[in-house]
């Protein structure tokens, strides 16, 4: 079944400053993840798997790698006659997208011209496999105006403007704190919400007319008393990517079978752009343990506790452990790497040693030669 009266909007650009090294040459949604994916694959696949077939992707700057990745949306089944994928860069000036409120205002024509009654809004700073159909059903059952997806956990320390929610017995939001000083577990908003399209447009118009520009403070916090705002607790694997070490740890957690089963749920697969790589080749004397490996790699050395993306080469006599190595990077012979995040298309020449720390992985930028 296709088409369920819900459309999606993905902010591919927010939170970039938190992992500035990885986003220097790309937007947040285009950050590579998990051996073959980009962060945007997760919200996009979630939407498609939930029956949404109209998705607008907000993107502000540095979006060449994102548009290259998305293409016409074919890999997500979003290259369609009716609806499909809409890439929404600023019309004239990136300042049109200065904040979330202004951005919604700038895409008002897109919202107006849509016929779906509801909108799911998601950012690209969380990696999860969520069924929006369930969120939608709960939203209808609660007769809610807004449903906020949240997680119960300790606040990620670097999360921007963390929004902590309190609920009554029925799950209705009764308090909203933005950026509170809280230690211990709390219910924090995952930057994923479901809202009626017309209500969203009305709230944005209201903000613009009053020149109040904070989506979290002026809409969620400002309006929760006037509207029926409910929460939806997501209990699955859902790391927020708010720092390089979050990014590193989220990649590393894919070594757990439970996490893989949850995130790559067979009935709700994660789609991504395909590249016709051959299968990975393991050479004579290769030794691989506890690692996630993409297609097209050539492994002749030792790989331990790593995430290798497609097309990575590991030379003879080389040992890599606890590393995240992105697409098409070539590590020469007799190297030693541990706790390193290596970006795309890097060349590490023979006999090099690079080491970071578990709490502070070293980062090697895209196209570097070491």
């Amino acid at each position: 079944m296709r088409g369920n009266n819900v459309m999606g909007i993905i902010f591919s650009n927010l939170h970039e400053n938190l992992i500035s090294q990885l986003t220097e040459l790309r937007t947040m949604g285009a950050v590579p993840f998990g051996g073959r994916y980009r962060l945007i694959d997760f919200p996009l696949s979630n939407m498609v798997n939930s029956g949404i077939n109209k998705v607008g992707v907000i993107t502000k700057t540095n979006y060449q790698s994102l548009t290259d990745h998305l293409g016409a949306g074919k890999a997500w089944d979003l290259s369609r006659q009716r609806n499909g994928l809409f890439i929404l860069p600023p019309f004239m000036d990136p300042s049109d997208y200065a904040n979330r409120v202004k951005t919604f205002n700038a895409i008002m024509p897109f919202l107006k011209n849509s016929s779906e009654e509801y909108v799911v809004i998601s950012d690209c700073d969380v990696v999860c496999n969520i069924d929006f159909q369930q969120v939608f059903e709960k939203h209808l059952a609660n007769n809610a105006d807004i449903t906020l997806v949240y997680k119960r956990d300790v606040l990620p320390p670097k999360l921007q403007e963390p929004t902590v929610l309190s609920f009554d017995a029925k799950g209705r939001v009764v308090d909203v704190l933005v950026d509170p000083a809280i230690t211990g577990s709390c219910s924090y908003y995952m930057n994923i919400m479901l809202i009626k399209r017309e209500l969203l447009m009305k709230l944005i118009n209201q903000c613009i007319s009053k020149n109040t520009m904070s989506f979290k403070r002026d809409i969620i916090q400002g309006e929760y008393k006037n509207l029926a705002v409910y929460g939806y607790e997501f209990k699955g694997f859902a790391p927020m990517i708010t720092s390089m070490s979050d990014y590193f740890n989220a990649n590393m957690s894919l070594k757990s079978k439970d996490v893989r089963d949850d995130l790559f749920n067979g009935s709700r697969p994660v789609y991504t752009k395909v590249r016709d790589d051959r299968p990975t080749k393991y050479g004579l004397g290769s030794k691989v343990s506890n690692s996630l490996i993409g297609n097209g790699c050539n492994i002749e050395g030792e790989v331990d506790n790593c995430v290798l993306f497609k097309g990575v080469h590991i030379g003879k006599g080389t040992k890599v452990s606890n590393c995240v190595i992105m697409q098409d990077t070539r590590v020469g012979n007799n190297c030693s790497l541990s706790y390193v995040v290596v970006d795309k298309d890097v060349v590490i020449r023979d006999d090099k040693t690079l080491a970071g720390q578990p709490s502070y992985p070293v980062y090697i930028g895209k196209l570097s030669v070491v």
């Binding site: 998990g34 051996g35 073959r36 074919k74 070594k255 079978k257 893989r260 995130l263 790559f264 697969p269 994660v270 789609y271 991504t272 395909v274 016709d276 790589d277 051959r278 299968p279 990975t280 080749k281 393991y282 050479g283 004579l284 004397g285 290769s286 030794k287 691989v288 343990s289 506890n290 690692s291 996630l292 490996i293 993409g294 297609n295 097209g296 050539n298 790989v303 995430v307 497609k310 097309g311």
Partner: protein, 404 residues
């Protein structure tokens, strides 16, 4: 009105491939999985695209479902253009009667309309059971240069094997003066690869003529080519240099897969300039567990490996549990090798489970009776029970009960 295509390729994909036994029970030979993620037909299709051929007709007849679904719109090979691309051509009812494709030449004859609408100068005839990378445009260039009516690709084979092939005996200028089908005493080692370039006007005439020829089997090798030679058409051999393998038998299919693991074999699948395209499953990357041993192997996305894998080719979503051993084998998509199972010199088809401590196949050095050694083959969607033993060279088409 279709825009003219200088070249149209016709891919013969209707054969049963009976030598592959259980592997082609439910699908046509060109759809047989190969090399960890491909199907055999990916090679000729990718060669077409990489050679600049935009119109490809795929002639299907035997068990076409899997093949039709796999080719789909042709999008993975960029063969989904507006006016050209890949077309599945199956036998059809006509006013004057209904016929299956009676032979390779008759299959093309029945699709003259398809070829005519592109008004091509040349037609390339390909078959769907070879693994190779070849630039057909070079062969077409040679065809033009020789002002030929027909050009046949040949490959130099060892003299000892020449009697297994169709041999083309040529003059010094490359023109063919004689065909010998599987000769006992071959005069040369130029084996036909089953790849032909024809000037379309000539071929068209001969196909129509052949159709009404009494006693003809409507086959290129047996009827059309000999007739053309007899009539003095300009027929040339085009020597191909590179890797080429007919994968029509279990042994050659196994060998061709193993060739991918040999760095000295000139079949590079990671060559960016001549990619082999395929339909890709939506699966996560492969995971190699702690304690697994993986060497000299090719492994595809979605696999989960806990045991030992050596000299093997594993397709997507294969699971090798801890303590299992896979050696010198090919495991097709979705199959599971349970704890303690040993798979040696075997081909395991799709979605089959090899039970705990079962033993499939054997290494030639481990058995006494060498004459009965061979590759063991297990069909698709089967269960081999715990502790069961499958001897080398056996071909299994039904579930096998466990013995534990």
């Amino acid at each position: 009105m279709y825009p003219k295509q200088e070249v149209v390729a016709m891919l013969l994909a209707g054969g049963q491939g009976s030598c592959l036994g259980v592997l082609t029970q439910k699908l046509a030979k060109p759809a047989v999985p190969f090399g960890g993620k491909y199907r055999i037909i990916d090679f000729p299709l990718s060669n077409c695209v990489n050679s600049g051929i935009e119109a490809v007709g795929v002639l299907t007849q035997y068990q076409p479902l899997v093949l039709n679904e796999y080719i789909g719109s042709g999008q993975p090979w960029d063969l989904d253009s507006m006016n050209s691309g890949v077309r599945i051509l199956s036998p059809y009812q006509q006013i004057k009667g209904t016929d299956w494709y009676k032979g390779t030449a008759n299959a093309i004859y029945q699709n003259i309309n398809y070829i005519d609408r592109y008004n091509p100068d040349y037609v390339v005839i390909l078959s769907g059971d070879h693994i190779y990378k070849m630039d057909y445009s070079k062969m077409i260039a040679a065809h033009k240069e020789n002002n030929a009516d027909c050009t046949i690709a040949v490959i130099d084979v060892p003299l000892a094997e020449a009697s297994r092939f169709g041999i083309m005996n040529t003059n010094p200028d490359g023109s063919i003066y004689e065909f010998e089908e599987k000769p006992k005493h071959p005069k040369s080692t130029n084996a036909s690869m089953g790849i032909y370039v024809f000037s379309w006007d000539k071929l068209r005439k001969y196909l129509i003529e052949d159709e009404t020829t009494e006693g003809s089997e409507h086959d290129f090798r047996k009827d059309v080519l000999p007739k053309m030679l007899e009539d003095g058409c300009r027929m040339f051999a085009y020597e191909f240099q590179g890797y080429w393998k007919d994968v029509g038998t279990i042994d050659s299919l196994w060998e061709a897969n193993m060739d991918l693991l040999d760095p000295n074999v000139p079949l590079d699948l990671s060559d960016e300039s001549w990619k082999i395209y395929s339909r890709n499953p939506v699966v996560p990357p492969q995971y190699i567990q702690e304690g697994a041993q993986v060497q000299n192997s090719m492994i595809a996305d979605g696999c989960d490996i806990g045991g030992s894998v050596d000299f093997s080719v594993l397709f997507s979503n294969v699971v090798v549990k801890p303590g299992a051993v896979v050696q010198d084998s090919i495991i097709m998509p979705g199959s599971v090798i349970e704890e303690g199972a040993v798979v040696q010199y075997a081909i395991v088809s799709e979605n089959t489970v090899i039970g705990k401590n079962a033993h499939v196949g054997a290494r030639p050095e481990d058995i006494v009776d060498k004459d009965h050694w061979g590759i063991a083959v297990i069909g698709d969607n089967l269960k081999i029970g715990a502790g069961a033993k499958i001897a080398p060279k056996e071909m299994i088409a039904k579930d096998v009960e466990g013995v534990e």
